[in-house]
Subunit: 287 residues, 4 copies
Amino acid sequence: MSTPFDSSGRVDPKAIASNTSRWIARGVRGVVALGSNGEAPLLDETESDAVVAAARDAVPRDRVLLAGTGRESTPMTIAASKRAAALGADALLVRTPSYFKPRMTPDAFVAHYSAVADAVRVPILLYNYPAVTGLTLTPDTVRRLAQHPNIIGIKETSVDAAQIASYVDATQDQDFAVLAGSAPSFFTALGLGAKGAILAAACIVPAACVALFDAFTRGDLITARDLQRRILPIANAVTSGYGVPGLKAALDLTGYVGGAPRMPLLPAAPDAAAAIRNALTPVGEYL
Amino acid sequence: MSTPFDSSGRVDPKAIASNTSRWIARGVRGVVALGSNGEAPLLDETESDAVVAAARDAVPRDRVLLAGTGRESTPMTIAASKRAAALGADALLVRTPSYFKPRMTPDAFVAHYSAVADAVRVPILLYNYPAVTGLTLTPDTVRRLAQHPNIIGIKETSVDAAQIASYVDATQDQDFAVLAGSAPSFFTALGLGAKGAILAAACIVPAACVALFDAFTRGDLITARDLQRRILPIANAVTSGYGVPGLKAALDLTGYVGGAPRMPLLPAAPDAAAAIRNALTPVGEYL
Amino acid sequence: MSTPFDSSGRVDPKAIASNTSRWIARGVRGVVALGSNGEAPLLDETESDAVVAAARDAVPRDRVLLAGTGRESTPMTIAASKRAAALGADALLVRTPSYFKPRMTPDAFVAHYSAVADAVRVPILLYNYPAVTGLTLTPDTVRRLAQHPNIIGIKETSVDAAQIASYVDATQDQDFAVLAGSAPSFFTALGLGAKGAILAAACIVPAACVALFDAFTRGDLITARDLQRRILPIANAVTSGYGVPGLKAALDLTGYVGGAPRMPLLPAAPDAAAAIRNALTPVGEYL
Amino acid sequence: MSTPFDSSGRVDPKAIASNTSRWIARGVRGVVALGSNGEAPLLDETESDAVVAAARDAVPRDRVLLAGTGRESTPMTIAASKRAAALGADALLVRTPSYFKPRMTPDAFVAHYSAVADAVRVPILLYNYPAVTGLTLTPDTVRRLAQHPNIIGIKETSVDAAQIASYVDATQDQDFAVLAGSAPSFFTALGLGAKGAILAAACIVPAACVALFDAFTRGDLITARDLQRRILPIANAVTSGYGVPGLKAALDLTGYVGGAPRMPLLPAAPDAAAAIRNALTPVGEYL
């Protein structure tokens, strides 16, 4: 989920509630608060807690609330994870620390994630996002971490089919979910053994994403592939093309509360709205 | 196909014949002479012609012989393409020139490929291999080139599911084949609309690659996915792990003629043979 | 400066005082608190303030105290900058935000830095560190920002001689200091017009760094070049080779307080100490 | 040197003669035939020989003629090197092979260059050009190769000051010349111990490059640094900005024979001429 701000730039819990209830009504299985597209790195700790609290109020107990709690340091990640768990998050999405890139060896990642998973009771999902972090978890690192009873899955935000396949293969004897984190590889990932997806595009066309997943699950690959084709332009316009400002502009265009991003993000340029509107036309039924 | 050399380092047409007849017997639909794994960049023009001639002798007329004819300059590419066509190649695989990277704009690629496709009568396949060239053809460039009546497809050698999907979508109103060029994305690519694959792994486990394709085509995705998993370790060991020297070592281990690579390639280290042998065990029935 | 932690992992103000007084005695012109090698991204806001306060106590008024205050969001950067200024920092070193890479356009950087420079009274230095952020400030962006009366310089942490020359040239009609941020380019940068340097190596061999600068300034290039050669192995061992953990191990080896890094950083491997000791031998007189 | 083609696209020996005699008159110490900016990768073997022969006719015996003879395979590199030596080249510039990147280990480079240096009597210079090849020679590889009596130097085409310093340091006990290969790092490289430079910019402003070198050599760093600043816009416009087509346009603008590049290179866009003309204005006296 996107994080809406009010006109003073403060987190807006009412908008979180209204957006979330519409996503839930469209059939999404759960919601991620404080992901990258939720501008998590731009919020302070107090604001982060407010977002989780508001999301928890809005997500019914039969759906899943994930909270992003990755920080650069292990102690700060643990602290954020404990607070999110206390606020009712069902599971935590923990992005790889990445500032000190050459030091982020497999052993460092195993030590970091094990310390976090040991410290909280709610389950942990790894979050691998190479385009942002400049790092990637190796399949062997994921295999090692999947053996921790409190680490239950990974969000892989890339379009690398080999990586997704490798994660699935490396964890196939564990109860471990590989989730697609990037709309262009949603169908592909399911074909390779992923169990679901966490997608910014689902903020805009939640019903299309749900329909793709359901079609794939019942073996209707032609429908799934067709939906994949239709989602792709949305993903390209919003995520690759215009990023968080584009996502918020798209939300505004589709009746959700989008609003302005926080600086240093600048609002989407005026031409973005036209491009996004074009991309929305063929998926109008899924908004 | 790999290019075998005799003990003096000369192209060995007899070994080409024996290897090729076994691949054909395993059911492959065609053979590529002078691809990357055929050490094409290490052969001079006379040797290149000898490889195409030997391959043409060995590939029956009901299978396809592709010849790699990409060179850095357009005139040299045209010259190589005419010679390969005269020697009987059914189609030509033309790698993107890449030395002058910043100059290789979409317009430069369109001009280059159009000039080649105008100059020969046999059809052309584009060949995109970002890991080697540091460049990638944009979907729009492929769309433009797909309109040329003599450009019939593309080999995409990457694991980028989004790229494969984009090529399929950009050319869906043309008679144009997107082919997977990388074993880890074979199953994925078929799911996204690719019409086949050109794979170094097929030199080692041709029957597995053919079986995967056939299973996918008849809708048996479970078998196809299972074969994908079994092919992956071969691809990892041979292509990613040890490259051309590993491929040649694997050929030697499986009863084909592999032999030494040409310098500056060094023979695979002794430990490669053990690693490759391990990777071969679970696919023994498909050699 | 490195940030020392006590045995419970808490910021250790006494160790900050003892380290700093020795650096000052060696002749350094100033100290940076909360740089990358100070593990700034691993500290929470309260700890960050404690480091600045301790450094201010230790740095005499006739030397310069810089404080790193870059955060991912503009409001958090402003808040941290105001606090550091209130604690007595003479100038602020503000790293480029980088999480949302494709959105970090020149206009976004200009808006971000202008907002920060407008909000505080102490002067601002830009901080460009492409290896960590995956982004780089263009010379034209630096030229635009150099026109702000409260932006007085840039720390360029790379070995790109062309970039340093371009920054110098882009700002030559302003009162603006380009500072080398990477020991291997210290001598080079001075030759291209840089006015100084901020170097992790100066934690270990402060007297050598000061001597190099002084030799260059008085025109003794042979001595300066010789010192550059002698500093290089230290820089390679500590920064490139072992990073923050290596820096801390080197501090321990040379009589400063180094100590353990904070997780996810792991302590330097045992072999690092031997390698660092070797690199220290030829510069023993400058410790 | 650039390689001029006549109106039919054939190598033009007369234009080589006239260009070269003017460069020689401007004081350059030598000329490189068949470098990257000579479009070497676009010429066939017969054309390559014609260029070396024409250059040898034009370069007086008291200046140096270097010929580029790097090919992807070791045997082809040796063959080209022998032919260039027979045609009178004083030394050979041998670019790293790069097609099979992951196989190009230090050992493979040492074997390749040693084989070439063993096979010819004229001396060899290594040629490292990471932006084109995606590879870089490590300082230790250069140190090993510098011990070969027939390997006398390296052209380093990058702006990485640390790399240049490392090469100088790794070979300081050998009779080995590190040469700058990129105009933006010319002054820097001299300061770090380089013994000269091979620069495309010297095709346009030969007298400025010679004057910079001479000023540096006699210790007049202020003049050298000033010339560096004045050369930079030329280098940026020609090499980084417009590449080979820009270099040829600049030659046409300054009274040399430039002409059209060979496909797949396209002629410089019309706006390039204006940009290049602007860059030439402040260096008119050095053309």
